[in-house]
Symmetry: C2
Subunit: 352 residues, 2 copies
Amino acid sequence: MVTAASNSPAGNLETIASVGENESLRRTISRLNKGDWELVGPGDDSAVIRAEHGSFVVTTDTLVQDHDFRLDWSTWFDLGWKAIASNLSDVAAMGARPTVLVVAVVCPTSTLVADLEAFADGLREACLSLSPGTAVVGGDLASGSQVVISVTAHGDLEGRAPVVRTGANPGDILAVAGTLGQAACGLDLLASGNTDAVSAWDEWVSVQRRPQPPLAAGIAAAEAGATSMLDISDGLAKDASRIAKASGVTVQIQSAALFGFEARLEGAAQSLSLANPHLIEMGEPNLAAEQYCRKWVLTGGEDHSLLATFPAGTVLPRGFKSIGVILEAQADRPLLLDDAPINPDGWDSVTG
Amino acid sequence: MVTAASNSPAGNLETIASVGENESLRRTISRLNKGDWELVGPGDDSAVIRAEHGSFVVTTDTLVQDHDFRLDWSTWFDLGWKAIASNLSDVAAMGARPTVLVVAVVCPTSTLVADLEAFADGLREACLSLSPGTAVVGGDLASGSQVVISVTAHGDLEGRAPVVRTGANPGDILAVAGTLGQAACGLDLLASGNTDAVSAWDEWVSVQRRPQPPLAAGIAAAEAGATSMLDISDGLAKDASRIAKASGVTVQIQSAALFGFEARLEGAAQSLSLANPHLIEMGEPNLAAEQYCRKWVLTGGEDHSLLATFPAGTVLPRGFKSIGVILEAQADRPLLLDDAPINPDGWDSVTG
């Protein structure tokens, strides 16, 4: 089993049970950064947040132990980072600037306070690195059998119209900002138990643990006139089919545009293709290297990149790469890879 | 065991696993009311909410199965109601008008879709009943071993200054809006397993299952010049001591002012005092009726009433009742019941 860096600093074995909720929360909150948006911060019944442009954007998402993460594959710092990254990308996908978050954590009472502190460090560093000025302004801590991290993120449209999913038009360019398939590759590397491969391709493992969503590209897309946009959280195919459904169009992805994304992952794919004891043990068929790459790029979701459509002729904003076009709706063919319909299968957070 | 009304309508045994996350979410969201505040509602990466007064209020809270609720004591409708009520009271405690909520649910894949629908009905009816115009604008559904309900609620101060915990001054009146001890009485009735007592005193059981926080009183308190305010979620004693600590004062509760709250619960207390097979089984000492009443009123938290301080001479707004005064801080005596210091013990959501 590949294990994450030590979660438990030696010498501090205090648990939430021994310290109590209030003190655990106090120590955790004291490690957070102070952002640019709070009028009243943590410590009262509610926080009060600036919203000078007449509206705010809000989204919520939950990470569940052994469904969305494993404590032997991610440190608590990683979890804090990922909780921020995955939620801020939903804010950016509206064309908004991330402002504040609230974070609720459920964990066993045997959880070390040091782990919660590392989680708070991850929250802070992700805010500072991905979206300076953004901060966690409130939280909640409760005990339960399984770790559950529930985040609500907010943003400010700064006067821009929100970019929703329903606005794609035939003729539009389909474009992506950010990486594709890297987080899924990292996950398969971790699952393989192949420590040599994990070391050799630690860049993709790092994207899985600490995604770097292209948040500024969301604002740039809105300013460039994006007609629709979303955060790729369930895979390019599934999320592209969401634009197709919401906008009443067919989305055509051009496979040639994916080659660059796939090529970067080939080395890791070859390592896994050669020998994957995890898959053999599970009785699952192994894939050829090119199949791994295609699967990761088409169905891997956790890079949290942005998928957007722009009117034909738009000079794409920095960070976006054209990967297809929007067509008139074709009956029963919402999603095409070149000329072939494809199944928009990705990840369903309940059925897997 | 006292059981709640049937959670599972006959004839619809579809589970989240059989229906999938997206369809389960769609059916659930379709039962929600549409509020007055959304510019973009459910279905996109984020919702967009009106905030015309330059700020918004935000708070988050989590309900965990077998810690904060039991599925054999509450229906899914009750859980939806309670999730709304307990969070909106935190918004009201800032002096704000509740606007929108987002709700994340984690539950086993074996959960019936009909149960989720009943949960959504509870969310809707609580919004319509407690705070018309308020609505759930987004959510998340994930699978896990234990039911976890995580809610983030928002409010609008409408130009008022937020009422925080730090502003109580010596000489201020201490006042409460709403009931005290009724939810705790209801919980002890359910725990007793005494079905006759549960039936006889179902009004208090109902407060436990579907609290009715006095939300309008929060705005009225802000308008009347309240110097501090909070939502009594962990019991009068514990929450009063929070005002004492945050404001650097001593809070004196007058026992004579509590008699009215206690007297209403005497009948239920007598039922439990006579014979409480649950406590006998647990090896815990039974209490005299008056001890039950005092415990419920001083340490029972789930009525979600509002505790506020007002300058001496203030005509208390409708719904508030004076229960004490604020004194200069006394060393090691932050909280007094008449002239005796009391331990601000309430409910710690981790240590119990």
